[in-house]
Amino acid sequence: MNLKPSHVGCFGFILGGLLGLLAATSLLIWLAGQAAFPPLAQPVAPPADVTLFFSEQTASRLASAGGPEPVTVDFEPGGRVVVAGPLDLGGLRPMARLGLTLEQQGGQLVSRLSWLELGFLKIPAGWLPSDLVELGAMPGEAINRELPPEFILVGLSTTADGLTFYLNSTD
């Protein structure tokens, strides 16, 4: 067989392209595997003056109140929550799912982004730009603003049904 250098180059280019595509797919599959919630221990419910339970439906309703499109909130045990809704991304508004963790830290609720899912693509927070990662802190800040000032947060738990705040009176 008489192979010309140009034929070999084309063959190499196609082979390289296929290998590159395979590598890119493998990388995305590996990324999706990395995009998991960190292991969080479900804290024991502390004794509290008042506990306030919000169902997923209520949380979704409150989260949707600020915008024209619906946002759904799906709680999982261990302080994990998946928020699904439109995301502003370079002028586009794709539907995204944000994997967040909720933690109580010194009387405050702290939320952190663990991963972002766009269609079939799931990206861990470490691979995302900082402005998207900072987006994960917003739910915690919004909830802190809504907590009545005469109460202090002493605990937090999530179940498949919803979210429970444990509050103590500051009086």
């Binding site: 070999v8 063959f11 390289g16 590598a23 890119a24 506990t51 209520t58 759904t72 079939f120 049904d161």
Partner: protein, 193 residues
């Protein structure tokens, strides 16, 4: 002379072409494939819709639980008098407080123990007085009418509090249940359809 010969060797040039183009294709495939997958993901997410969460078990939209200590402190704050509160199963609350009663022609400090029951009548919460007793006095006084004048105001206050919670949440909520155990009292509510 040797380097010139090897440079013009056709086998070597084919090998270099294969390696060079393969590397170029690999880089282009990696970048193009990555970009293609990102664009595909973005495309599918642009047309996606948000599905409402599936309800795992029937649960209220909201549940507020109050502890015995907190309820005692709240009552004490409202009345300005020390009140001891004991939450009982069956939506009952036993409260003991100090007051003055006209006895034998003169006001006398007495301790009164009252037993309330919280009832849900339709969507409205009502407080019913089940029993009232003078503590430490064996005189059987008719005291069940003791708070008759105050109960409508108490009921109005309680239902006003529910309305305030509704306003704070920006939606109309209705009470759907209440319950109690030895130490806590809870209220359950749903959004009005």
């Amino acid at each position: 002379m040797q380097p010139e010969n090897s440079r013009s060797d056709p086998n070597r040039s084919i090998g270099c072409g294969l390696a060079g183009c393969c590397a170029g294709g690999l880089v282009l495939g990696l970048m193009g494939g990555g970009l293609l997958l990102v664009l595909l993901a973005l495309g599918t997410s642009l047309n996606a819709t948000v599905l409402p969460p599936t309800q795992v078990a029937p649960s209220p939209d909201l549940r507020l639980t109050l502890s015995e200590d907190f309820l005692g402190r709240a009552l004490q704050e409202n009345t300005g008098e020390p009140v001891s509160v004991d939450i009982l199963p069956g939506n009952q609350i036993r409260a003991r407080f100090q007051t003055e009663l006209e006895m034998f022609g003169a006001p006398s400090p007495v301790q009164i123990e009252v037993l309330f029951e919280l009832q849900l009548i339709g969507p409205r919460l009502a407080v019913a007085l089940l029993d009232a007793q003078l503590v430490g006095i064996d005189v059987p006084l008719e005291m069940t009418g003791l708070l008759d004048d105050d109960l409508p105001a108490i009921n109005a206050d309680v239902n006003q509090a529910v309305q305030e919670v509704s306003s704070a949440l920006g939606a109309n909520i209705i009470l759907t249940g209440l319950g109690s155990d030895e130490t806590t009292l809870w209220f359950e509510a749903r959004y009005a359809p």
